[in-house]
């Protein structure tokens, strides 16, 4: 498994060859609070980098989800339909959201662990 990279809109992505897995970060889930619903796309849809692909709704807010990388959706985490709380419990594991087949290279503005940590600490202040 490759390194996890992050967006400024608080999604994460891991890339393994042509395949990417996407979710929202631990910081995002902690800010949102209890997630109660996700509106997700169907498999087969093609996403551009930074394109909105769904909505995560918590007890506090409804926020759009953005694709960190471009690609075609190969899998949607079906478990989230009945257990949206997986996003809170395990955002980097069982709470993954989409799997994509990559189209082109990932954008070069994705953040690494350290830069993302700096970003969240800055916004926490």
């Amino acid at each position: 498994m490759a390194d996890r990279r992050y967006t400024r809109s608080h999604e994460w992505v891991t890339v393994d060859g042509k395949h990417a897995t996407i979710g929202i970060t631990d910081y995002a889930q902690s800010q949102l609070g209890d997630v109660v619903f996700l509106e997700l796309p169907s498999t087969g849809r093609k996403l551009g980098a930074r394109e909105t692909f769904g909505v995560v709704e918590s007890v506090k807010a409804a926020s759009d989800l953005y694709a960190p990388v471009a690609g075609r959706i190969t899998e949607v985490n079906e478990k989230l339909a009945s257990k949206p709380e997986l996003i809170n419990a395990d955002p980097y594991g069982e709470g993954w959201i989409l799997k994509l087949e990559l189209a082109g290279d990932p954008p070069d503005d994705l953040l690494d662990e350290a830069s993302y940590k700096k970003l969240t600490e800055a916004s926490a202040q």
């Binding site: 619903f37 509106e39 169907s42 709704e57 409804a62 759009d64």
Partner: protein, 417 residues
């Protein structure tokens, strides 16, 4: 204030309006006293020709029904009557409870899992249901099957234009079809095969939208029983006067898995820290205060007072009361249909079809006959040829509990004379 916002005069605020469209001075008479105003307004009102409820036989979506005094006694309470939409909803427990009761009654009546806090009227309810189907299925076409209220279809087309929804009249549903919309009883008052229509929609992966008469549900199978996905309708008959077409109230109910596609808001119950039951805004998945610029629905102020009237009416009538008036209306209408069909030259337009309390009749020289009735203080049926070319000379007559036996005699006597 002008100084604060940095303009010299009121007119500076209006510079964007072309000069030719501006009115420099209004030619208005001097003010009148309250007494003079009332006299003038009464004189104007007296020029209206008002038909007695009992001598009104016209339906077409709006019906005269007896409205118990209990309805106004509740809706005229200032707590309900003067309140604006609850933007701080939990502070208005009474309003929320009333909406919750309305939702519960509509869900029970339609046999579906969940109903929202109401819509504007039957027409917008049909259009909103089509939108739900479009969002749910990702498909762009809706089929209007049979004689659905023509004005509802107009509103549906207007809504659809902005959303890229195509409205097709009749035909088989296919993989582009988001929903099949039908009305039960239909615009002419006739019963349609709702089970077959629902099954055909489902076979094509489309939703079935049933537009229903709420009072008919005291006799007919509710949409939930025949597996319709969404039920909508006009709630005017539930304690609201015709009022020249509005304000009325629309309702929408659906299966549980469509709940997030419902427009407007849903009130639910919850318990506070001390364990006391209360009412809360439970869900408003598409509204602007939740979704901001991505909102796909904006139903806030709504016709809540009308929904309250409907809730009071349904509660007051109860299941037996509702069934009683539905049966009385049914019997009167069938009795009237028999007598009208016996008039020389008159015949039932679709004698092989069943109806409840409204039915189409073929009438010789229909416009002249309706004018003659009007002169005798009777509001005759509705000439539906105005919307449907193929229905030349077809007039629909409606009966409810307010058309007493003597009123039916008066109608038939007037037609025989």
């Amino acid at each position: 204030m002008l100084e604060t916002i940095g303009v010299g005069s009121m007119n500076d605020l209006l510079v964007d309006i072309p000069q030719s469209l501006r009115l420099e001075s209004l030619q208005l008479p001097d003010g009148l006293s309250e007494f003079e105003t009332m006299a003038q307004i009464s004189a104007l009102a007296n020029r209206n020709k008002v038909f007695a409820d009992r001598l009104t036989f016209r339906g077409g979506g709006v019906y005269r029904r007896f409205i118990p005094a209990a309805v106004a006694a509740v809706t005229s309470k200032p707590e309900f009557y003067t309140a604006y939409t609850p933007y701080q909803p939990e502070a208005s427990q009474g309003t929320l409870q009333a909406i919750f009761e309305f939702q519960t009654l509509i869900a029970e009546l339609t046999g579906l899992d969940v109903a929202n806090a109401s819509l504007y009227d039957g027409a917008t309810a049909v259009a909103e249901a089509a939108m739900m189907a479009h969002i749910h299925t990702g498909r762009n076409e809706v089929i209007v099957s049979g004689y659905v209220h023509p004005e509802y279809v107009q509103v549906l087309r207007a809504f659809g234009e902005g959303r890229g929804i195509k409205v097709r009249k009749d035909g088989e549903p296919n993989k582009k079809t988001a929903a099949v919309i039908f009305q039960q009883p239909d615009f002419l008052g006739l019963l349609v095969d709702v089970r077959a229509l629902t099954a055909a929609a489902h076979d094509a992966g489309a939703l079935a939208i049933a537009c229903v008469d709420p009072i008919s549900l005291a006799i007919l199978a509710p949409p939930g029983e025949y597996e319709a996905d969404i039920a909508v309708g006009e709630g005017q008959q539930l304690g609201l006067s015709p009022s020249f077409g509005g304000p009325h109230v629309g309702f929408v109910a659906c299966k549980r898995d469509l709940v997030r596609k419902l427009p407007g808001r849903l009130v639910g119950t919850a318990y506070d820290a001390a364990g006391r039951r209360g009412f809360v805004l439970a869900l408003a998945a598409r509204e602007q205060h939740i979704r901001r610029e991505r909102a796909t629905s904006n139903i806030c102020t709504n016709h809540s007072l009308c929904a309250l009237a409907a809730a009071v009416y349904l509660t007051y009538m109860g299941p037996y009361g509702l069934r009683h008036i539905a049966e009385v209306s049914f019997k009167r209408a069938h009795h009237l249909a028999e007598r009208l069909a016996a008039l020389p030259g008159w015949e039932l337009a679709f004698p092989e079809r069943q109806f409840l309390n409204e039915f189409p009749v073929r009438v010789p020289k229909a416009p002249a006959v309706m004018r003659k009735l009007g002169r005798k203080g009777i509001l005759g049926g509705l000439d539906v040829n105005r919307w449907f070319r193929e229905l030349k000379g077809v007039v629909t007559f409606a009966c409810t509990e307010v058309n007493d036996a003597r009123a039916l005699d008066e109608l038939v006597e007037a037609l025989e004379s």
